[in-house]
């Protein structure tokens, strides 16, 4: 799996970085999402999909490789 993200859409709510701090972070300058691990193991899929569903602007998507 691979995480795709759209920094233009991101409004920096930080829901992703709060819930999965080992996978997501936020830029120090503008607060927008940084993906630390673009290809987490498949055992994290459900967790990442849950976070993507919580993103207020749907800036995160999970894709198959």
């Amino acid at each position: 799996m691979r995480i795709r993200y759209d920094r233009e859409r991101c409004v920096g709510s930080g829901a992703c970085a709060f819930t999965l701090p080992d996978i997501f972070d936020q830029d120090e300058d503008d607060g927008r999402v940084l993906v630390l691990v673009e290809r987490p193991g498949s055992e994290r899929r459900k967790a990442v999909e849950d976070v993507a569903a919580s993103c207020p602007v749907f800036a995160l998507t999970v894709e198959d490789d």
Binding site: V11, S13, A15, D27, G31, P56, V57, F58
Partner: protein
């Protein structure tokens, strides 16, 4: 006559008054929401505050559609905007609009100036300090002995102190902010006194921004100001508006969730026992409390800037619309058995913080505050219980943000 004509509201009959009344169960949203979601999910209401007729939407997908749409404006100054506070037009005209009342691109610039200060990491870094403040207040509560008012002893002071530290208010000014916070939960205060308190606070925020521009410290407001000195994007009044927004978003809301959340957990003793036994369940329980309590239920309002169709109903440009997140959070198309508090459910996708560009930028601060407060409260006072029947508690039925005026507890 066609069915269409007979089902349309007749010209003489005004749409129901809004906000709709809550049921006898004070933790539940108005029961009418459930009927509306089924039968008339997009409908008209008459605002009690102004007599204006505006739309409400009640389903989860519709609330998301409205709050995510670029054709919906948050600008309070547009004529059709469904303002729910009695702001006289002359005041509104001169008001420096807060972040929540702006649209892109102004909104984007200001929000981006603020959010780096409120990142998940920074909020987590506040945890030890929040713990200290919480411990001090619980120690004081225990020393006093029950019954005490949890709102005055814990729910108001903890978030207000955290707020003061966050924006760098120190010394005697902390006392000023605390008194202000207390006044805001005082129902006996007259509109004149309330106005005077608001004015005094405004002056205070003005002074605070001026002082931090001169003498920046190590706090959120100072850092936003310092960065702005380089970019020059925001003016003094923008910064005051930001401080004001942090104030209004930052402590009353958190205080209300601490109060209501305590009641909800005490009313569900089995679930409370589970979180007490395993505090790692707390973050999930808190997410569920956000969904279940939806304290800013009817605060998310917009005005259409283009004609837009929602579920076959045409909303015209210029018409106001309120997206009821409290109704969306009880929509059984999205959540199973939504009227039950279930700390084990996947509450993801709840709309308690709004949705879209305006989603509450302070959500992660509240998450940390509630985690610390609830975990500490129930571990240090495991026998905590209500000191009055739920039916006798004073809920803020008359406020835009729902909560409790007081909460007698004992142990």
């Amino acid at each position: 006559m066609t069915a269409e004509v007979t089902t349309a509201p007749s010209a003489v009959e005004a749409p129901p008054a809004f906000p709709l009344s809550r049921s006898k169960c004070p933790l539940s949203p108005p029961p009418e929401y459930a009927r509306l979601r089924e039968e008339q999910s997009v409908s008209k209401v008459t605002l009690r505050v102004s007599g204006k007729q505006v739309w409400i939407v009640t389903r989860h997908d519709q609330v998301r559609q409205v709050l995510g749409s670029p054709d919906m404006s948050s600008n309070w100054k547009l004529p059709g905007y469904p303002l729910q506070v009695p702001l006289p037009p002359e005041v509104l005209e001169t008001l420096e609009l807060p972040l929540v009342a702006m649209d892109p691109p102004d909104h984007t610039v200001r929000r981006r100036a603020l959010i780096p200060e409120l990142t998940a990491k920074r909020m987590q870094a506040l945890r030890p300090r929040i713990q200290e403040v919480t411990d001090q207040h619980i120690t004081a509560m225990l020393a006093k002995g029950g019954p005490v008012d949890l709102i005055q002893e814990l729910a108001v002071p903890v978030p207000s102190l955290v707020f003061c530290e966050l924006i760098g208010v120190s010394g005697e000014n902390v006392g000023f902010f605390r008194r202000y916070a207390e006044q805001m939960v005082n129902r006996d205060i007259t509109p004149e006194e309330m106005g005077a308190a608001q004015y005094e606070m405004e002056m205070h925020l003005q002074g605070l921004v001026a002082a931090k521009t001169e003498n920046p410290g190590d706090d959120v407001l100072s850092r936003v100001i310092a960065k702005n000195n380089e970019t020059g994007e925001l003016e003094h009044n923008d910064l005051v508006a930001l401080a004001r927004m942090l104030l209004f978003g930052g402590f009353d809301t958190t205080a209300n969730i601490i109060g209501l959340g305590t009641v909800a957990l005490l009313q569900n003793p089995e679930q409370l026992a589970q979180v007490k036994a395993d505090p790692s369940l707390m973050p999930k329980a808190i997410e569920e409390l956000f969904r279940y309590l939806s304290i800013s239920d009817s605060a998310t309002a917009r005005v259409a800037t283009k004609d837009i169709e929602i579920d076959g109903v045409l909303i015209r440009a210029g018409e106001g619309i309120i997206a009821l997140n409290g109704s969306a959070n009880r929509d059984d198309r999205f959540f199973d058995n939504p009227d039950a508090l279930d700390i084990h459910r996947e509450a993801k996708g709840h709309l308690a913080f709004g949705h879209g560009n305006h989603q509450c930028p302070g959500a992660n601060l509240v998450r940390v505050e509630l985690d610390v407060v609830f975990t500490t409260l129930f571990s240090r006072i495991p026998t905590l219980r209500l000191a009055a029947p739920v039916e006798e508690l004073e809920f803020k039925h008359d406020q835009l943000i729902y909560g409790l005026y007081s909460l007698p507890v004992t142990w």
